[in-house]
């Protein structure tokens, strides 16, 4: 059993840091869920075992630019399905996804 006073002491010691951490973690959880279906073709954590390109560890700006191009009026040559999928995500979600996969090594 951990005493309440001990916990509160620990909290007051680093309140600002903790609040920042919690806010960040919540959005990270959202990004992981947002990224969930990507794995079904691009591999778990965006590490592909097939001809679909890997996403893991690629620079966030590259990934975001690609997704926005898929979403646009003239998707990159050779596009088959990503134009249809990319239209389901807002630019903010695309940025979150790009960051999420860029951080996967």
């Amino acid at each position: 059993m951990v005493s309440r006073s001990k916990i509160l002491g620990a909290i007051s010691g680093a309140t600002l840091l903790l609040i920042a951490g919690a806010a960040h973690a919540q959005s990270a959880g959202d990004a992981a869920v947002l990224a969930g279906p990507c794995a079904n073709c691009h591999g778990t954590d965006g590490k592909s075992n097939n001809k679909v390109p890997s996403l893991a560890g690629r620079p966030a700006p590259t990934l975001a630019a690609l997704m926005k191009a898929f979403k646009g009026e003239t998707p990159p040559p050779g596009t088959t399905i990503m134009n249809r999928l990319a239209k389901g995500y807002t630019d903010e979600q695309i940025e979150a996804l790009a960051k999420y996969f860029a951080e996967k090594k």
Partner: protein, 432 residues
């Protein structure tokens, strides 16, 4: 419940809402064991295997038990390619070694019963598993007798092959034994049912088998519906690749079968027309797997209503239901969706055990179908929650273009195989 958990709850009352995130995320040393709990997952398919894996890899402290009767799970997706002669049956089989290596306890037994008040699952043989959170991913059961004449005995003569296993092998054997010039009949059901494009990919792949081995044979689809998934693309493709071999009869042209005589391999339609088959494949009416009924989560419709954000049953707390068993329109009953729902449920469960709200839910679906080995088509969608309901995001998704180059169709055929390899690896960790 641990004492840590209790002290944490007291503290939360003091801190208010913002405390939840503080405690569980930022004080692992103090709140050791926080977020842990016992999760039982019933069903080792696309949904269940994925949910078990993602819960365990997100929080290894959670005790996860996966209950699946089969040592080796065979997927229904890609069995159509087996009928086409493109894959062996074994290629659709997946083991549970990766899940075990992750620390998931895999129990090969049938889950017989759920007590949603005591929070227990009873296995065949009598073993009882206690849960804090239960995930049911039971897939479908056949509604035996819902189509007159189609019961378990009839399925031994006229297979459904809508659950991978002995039924798949039986249908393949019948196709192999059929003489050239025979007629294959597929009876397609009303919506909703597992894998909406499945019947139409199946006849495509059997068309490929006939074209290459038994070119005088015919295919007849008797359909209880007026429309089906990727209809225009399938009809175009059949004409282009198989000429007059495949005939589709919709509801309005007396396509609805009302009686099956499996022994005679004969079916009768709504307006009394009889069709005789050399090989008869009945895709019958379906419902959620029986364990969902035992758990008290199945509705009158035969399917399981869920809360959109978490896929928790809307009837019983702490039971999440995913995959084909759910009433999750506009999402289709597909392996891809079951996996995506599994991840959303996993995230919600991990968060709930840690005293946090569930992350914002998001899903996608991609279904590839093969018309011929180098002729693939697809449908894709992205989903979110709007006002508590599952929503297909406007402007997203859709089917492959009606006009496309042979290179485009070939690419989609290749991406279909890539999808299977990726999702099998994601769910079971197996190399396909």
């Amino acid at each position: 419940m641990s004492t840590n958990m209790i002290s944490r709850r007291c503290t939360l009352q003091l801190l208010g809402g913002a405390g939840a995130g503080l405690m569980s995320l930022s004080m692992p040393a103090i709140a050791q064991g926080a977020g842990a709990g016992r999760v039982v997952v019933v069903g080792g398919g696309f949904g269940g295997a994925t949910a078990a894996k993602y819960i365990k890899r997100t929080n290894p402290k959670i005790q996860v038990t996966l209950v699946e009767p089969l040592q080796r799970y065979y997927t229904c997706p890609f069995t159509n390619l087996h009928f086409g002669g493109l894959r062996t049956f074994e290629q659709q089989g997946h083991n549970f070694n990766e899940l075990r290596a992750l620390g998931v306890q895999v129990v090969h037994a049938l889950a017989n019963d759920v007590d949603n008040k005591k929070k227990t699952v009873t296995l065949a043989g009598g073993r009882v598993l206690q849960y804090d959170k239960l995930v049911l991913s039971p897939g479908i059961d056949i509604r035996w007798g819902a189509l007159k004449g189609y019961d378990q005995a009839a399925a031994q003569l006229a297979p459904h092959a809508w659950q991978a296993g002995p039924q798949t092998t039986l249908l393949k054997q019948q196709l192999d034994a059929m003489p050239d010039g025979g007629t294959f009949i597929l009876v397609a059901p009303e919506n909703p049912f597992r894998c909406p494009p499945g019947p139409y990919e199946r006849v495509s792949m059997i068309g490929h088998y006939f074209k290459t081995r038994k070119p005088k044979s015919k295919i007849l689809v008797l359909d209880a519906k007026e429309n089906f998934s990727k209809q225009g693309l399938f009809l175009d493709g059949w004409k282009k690749v198989y000429g007059e071999m495949i005939e589709w009869v919709p509801l309005s042209k007396d396509g609805k079968v009302v009686r099956v005589d499996a022994r005679a391999r004969e079916v009768e339609t709504e307006f009394g027309k009889k069709h005789k088959a050399s090989v008869l494949n009945v895709v019958p009416p379906q419902k959620a797997g029986f364990i969902a009924d035992r758990a008290g989560v199945t509705a009158q419709s035969g399917w399981v209503p869920i809360k959109a954000e978490t896929f928790e049953s809307s009837q019983v707390a702490d039971i999440h239901v995913i995959g084909d068993a759910t009433a999750a329109a506009p999402m289709p009953k597909s392996g891809f969706v079951a996996n995506a729902q599994g991840k959303v449920a996993a995230a919600a469960i991990v968060a709930s055990l840690a005293g946090r709200p569930a992350p914002k839910a998001s899903w996608a679906n991609t279904c590839y179908s093969l018309i011929a080995p180098d002729y693939g088509i697809s449908v894709a969608n992205v989903y979110d929650v709007v006002e508590g309901k599952l929503n297909e995001i406007k402007g997203s998704g859709g089917v492959s273009p009606r006009e496309a180059s042979p290179e485009f169709r070939k690419l989609e055929a290749e991406y279909g195989v890539a999808w299977y390899n990726a999702i099998a690896n994601d769910a079971w960790g197996t190399k396909a």
